[in-house]
Amino acid sequence: MRRTFGWIAAALLVVLAAWKLYESISPRAEQQKPLLFVPKTVDGRSDFWRVLGMGVQTAAKEFGVQVQTVGTVAETDVDGQIALLERAIEERPRAIVLAASDYNRVVPVAKRIQAAGIPLITVDAGLNGGIAASFVATDNYEAGRKAGEAALRLLPQDATIAVVSFVKGTATSMERERGVRERLAEAPGVNVLEETYFSDGSIDKAYRIVSRLLRERPDIQGFVCLNEPTTTGAAKALQESGRAGEVKLVGFDSSTDEIDYLEADVIQAIVVQNPFNMGYLAVRAAVDAARGKRTEPVIDTGSEVITKQNLYNKENQKLLFPFDDPD
């Protein structure tokens, strides 16, 4: 009779083992935990972050993960973002997709996220030391080079060009500026103003800077502006000066204003990023990282040069005029 019990016990063990095996291979358990998306801002007025969010949602649907979006309203609320991340560590999400609001100050909390074993992906804005499993963003150096290239095509070989940047010391602005300057330096005749002007991301300040430069340096034949408000402010100044078209303007990012100026030939070219792909690829990288797969340390989502001629190309329409998401 003892042997019979032995057999039954063995059979039960087999069943138990099968159940355990099933639980371990069942994807349900890991899917129940959401993936945390922390953009720089949850302000719905920002086209860039709205489209990036659409990319995130598209990927979430495709890879069958839930995404929880938390963030601060102001892009500059670094402390708020740090506090959010601190709370997130306790909830142990499946992975975190983070757009760091500060290159340096967010690093300590990011290190704690890593120490807690939560995969971390940075999107758009990275962290000092590159501690994330993946950094998904536009290659800003490459984008800068494209802007420089566009300017060179528009201008004569001995042109004088000014570079107007936005916030001093941010990784994005530095990379873009380096790209622009290095590309322009490759053209021997071109004269680039040594000084870099900073608009601090303000249309008004950009407008004032460019207006002043147009007055003081009539020899300037081209401007390269490194983000959206700076470009818009510069375009406004150019239009008012009456020298639009004559002085060439290459800008960054897209907005309705910029497109208007582009169509009006005030702006000749804009370099645009691909926030949808950024969001999509960040989630894909996060899902991979959560499944223990190796991820690329840097994922470039590319940039496009838009001119009046290719503005309404099929591909570019989507990039420049995102669908209104009913959600």
């Binding site: 069943v15 099968a18 159940w19 069942s26 598209t58 691909n274 099929k314 009913p326």
Partner: protein, 591 residues
């Protein structure tokens, strides 16, 4: 060989349990897999039908929208006002402005009645541009006429042209996503002609497609006849080549069904085409559309596991119940092998094992009976042999004695005749003795005395004799007629051939619960070899010319058992002593 041994089990129990287990595992696996496969394929089938219906429905809805737009376009272009406006030499004139205002009002009323119309616009060949907006800021005319919807209408010869989805940019600072339905009014180039455009808000189509839930990852997209995307949830991914759809094969598909990808990414494309050449494509992932596929699998696995456990337990129990009685039977048989026939199997069941047990019982009973019978027969045989042996002794001796009596009578020795005849009578009386096998030693003594008397008369001067028996043993029982052959032997073999007068001495005493009778002569004796030969003869019980001693030996052993019997001591020229031993059995009169 080693492998074969692996499957050779010592007990039926193990082999049965194992066989059952294998069977159960096999059947369970088969059934589980089959039920899983069947339900999965049923679910896939349902999913296909469901997807087909959904796609068809989306297609029908879009068709309705486009039909409505076409009829609105027809309605808007029906009046003569447009033609009149387009015929004016200068649309900027006062009359032109008046007409344009009235047309604009009409357009406005149409657009207001429907939310899905983004705008209605007319561009006359004379440069007149009028829309539903009261104060619209139009792009330059050249920009407008360069746009695709305008060229499409101009080139389609009066038919309705439907654009792909695009960003409408006829107004300044307005970039809505629309599908443009445009139509040429009049002949191109002629006065009074123009292009009428109705823009359908793409959000209508977007929402329609977005609402469709095709599982977790499934989606719907729309292609125009050229294969351009009108709507795709991942349009941007397609443009940046992160993803791709095999558009040529979708356009060329005749069946309306296509499968792409592998495993988890297996996609099923269901294609519906409407009158305008648009293709509505529903994409489903069969792997997940079988929504509860995992659940089916788990349930199947669990059920399989449970059945397996129950089945294994049952098989073990069953094989135990079957094998156990056989084991018990085997155990009992072992006992029988060792000679225990007093065994019965308790039979409860009526199955084959029960029948076997009953047969076993019967067989054991039969064997037992046979054994008893044999023992009895042997006993009978022994007794009859004994009797025969006794009987053998008598006649020979009787004839000799009678011969002697006759001879003595002829010689006139009447005294001797009387003595001999008396002794003979005594002898027979003693030997007949009611047929009992066992007689007191005293009776046996009487008998041997009579015998010696007779022999002494016959072989006068040949030997003398003496008898010295312990009086205690006289009442003890002995086998009858055991001494006579010994004495006879002593006379014939020990003394008869001797020239000198021999002496026979019979002694008897008790010793450690056994009685020892000795018959000694001082005759020729035997060599050591002869003694051994004779002893061997005694043991084997061989019949032969000298039947006397073996016969006695055998009778004693048959009666009293192995350790008893005869023993011979002899020296050449010294004489022979035959020792007879048997257990002390007190006779009736002893007490």
């Amino acid at each position: 060989m080693a492998q074969r041994r692996l499957f050779r089990f010592k007990s039926i129990h193990t082999s049965m349990a194992l066989a059952f287990s294998c069977l159960i595992v096999g059947i369970t696996a088969l059934l589980t897999y089959n039920s899983y496969r069947l339900s999965a394929s049923a679910a896939t089938g349902n999913a296909k039908i469901y997807t087909g219906q959904l796609t068809q429905q989306v297609n029908a809805n879009i068709q309705t929208y486009l039909d409505t737009m076409a009829s609105i376009s027809a309605l808007a272009g029906s009046g003569e006002e447009l033609e009149k406006l387009a015929s004016l030499p200068d649309p900027q004139s006062e009359e032109g402005a008046r007409k344009a205002a009235s047309i604009s009002r009409f357009f406005r009323s149409v657009v207001r009645s429907r939310e899905d119309i983004s705008t209605i616009l007319f561009v006359g060949s004379n440069g007149a541009v009028v829309s539903d907006r009261a104060e619209a800021k139009f792009k330059p005319l050249d920009d407008i006429t360069a746009q695709e919807w305008y060229r499409g209408a101009r080139d389609s010869g009066g038919k309705v042209a439907i654009s792909s989805s695009h960003v409408q940019h006829v107004y300044k600072r307005e970039y809505p996503w629309v599908v443009s339905i445009s139509r040429m009014l009049g002949r191109p180039g002629e006065a009074g002609s123009g292009v009428l455009m109705v823009d359908l808000n793409l959000n209508v189509i977007n929402n329609l497609c977005r609402q469709i839930q095709l599982g977790q990852r499934g989606y719907v997209f729309i292609l125009d006849p050229a294969g351009d995307l009108i709507y795709h949830p991942q349009q941007q991914l397609l443009y940046s080549r992160l993803k791709s759809e095999d558009i040529p094969s979708l356009l060329n598909s005749k069946t309306g069904l296509l499968t792409k990808g592998k495993g988890r990414d297996l996609r099923l494309y269901t294609i519906g085409t409407n009158d305008y050449g648009w293709k509505v494509v529903g994409v489903t992932y069969p792997d997940e559309l079988v929504g509860n596929k995992g659940e089916i699998r788990n349930t199947s696995l669990l059920a399989g596991g449970l059945f397996l456990a129950v089945g294994l337990a049952l098989s073990v129990l069953l094989s135990y119940r079957l094998a156990n009685p056989i084991k018990r039977l085997e155990h009992l048989m072992k006992k029988v092998e060792k000679g225990d026939f007093n065994i019965r199997v308790d039979v409860e069941s009526t199955d084959e094992i029960g029948k076997l047990s009953r047969s076993f019982n019967l067989m054991i009973g039969k064997i037992k009976d046979l054994m008893e019978q044999i023992v009895e027969e042997q006993e009978q045989k022994r007794i009859s042999e004994l009797k025969a042996m006794q009987a053998q002794i008598q006649p020979h001796f009787l004839y000799n004695t009678l011969d002697s009596i006759i001879w003595m009578g002829e010689m006139g020795k009447m005294q001797d005749v009387v003595r001999m005849t008396t002794a003979l009578a005594k002898l027979f009386r003693a030997s007949i003795s009611k047929g009992d096998e066992l007689v007191p030693v005293g009776t046996e003594l009487e008998h041997i005395r009579s015998y010696l008397t007779i022999q002494h008369i016959r072989y006068k001067n040949k030997f003398t004799y003496e008898i010295e028996l312990d009086p205690d043993i006289l009442s003890c029982l002995t086998l009858k007629l055991v001494l006579q052959p010994l004495v006879e032997n002593a006379i014939y073999h020990g003394l008869k051939q001797q020239a000198i007068i021999g002496h026979i001495r019979i002694t008897g005493r008790k010793h450690d619960g056994e009685i020892e009778l000795r018959v000694s002569d001082d005759g020729a004796g035997m060599t050591e070899g002869q003694v051994r030969e004779l002893t061997a003869k005694l043991r084997s019980g061989e019949d032969g010319p000298g039947v006397g001693l073996p016969n006695v030996n055998q009778r004693i052993r048959l009666t009293f058992g192995e350790p008893y019997g005869l023993e011979i001591e002899s020296e050449p020229e010294e004489g022979t002593t035959v020792i007879l031993r048997f257990p002390e059995i007190p006779g009736e009169g002893a007490a």
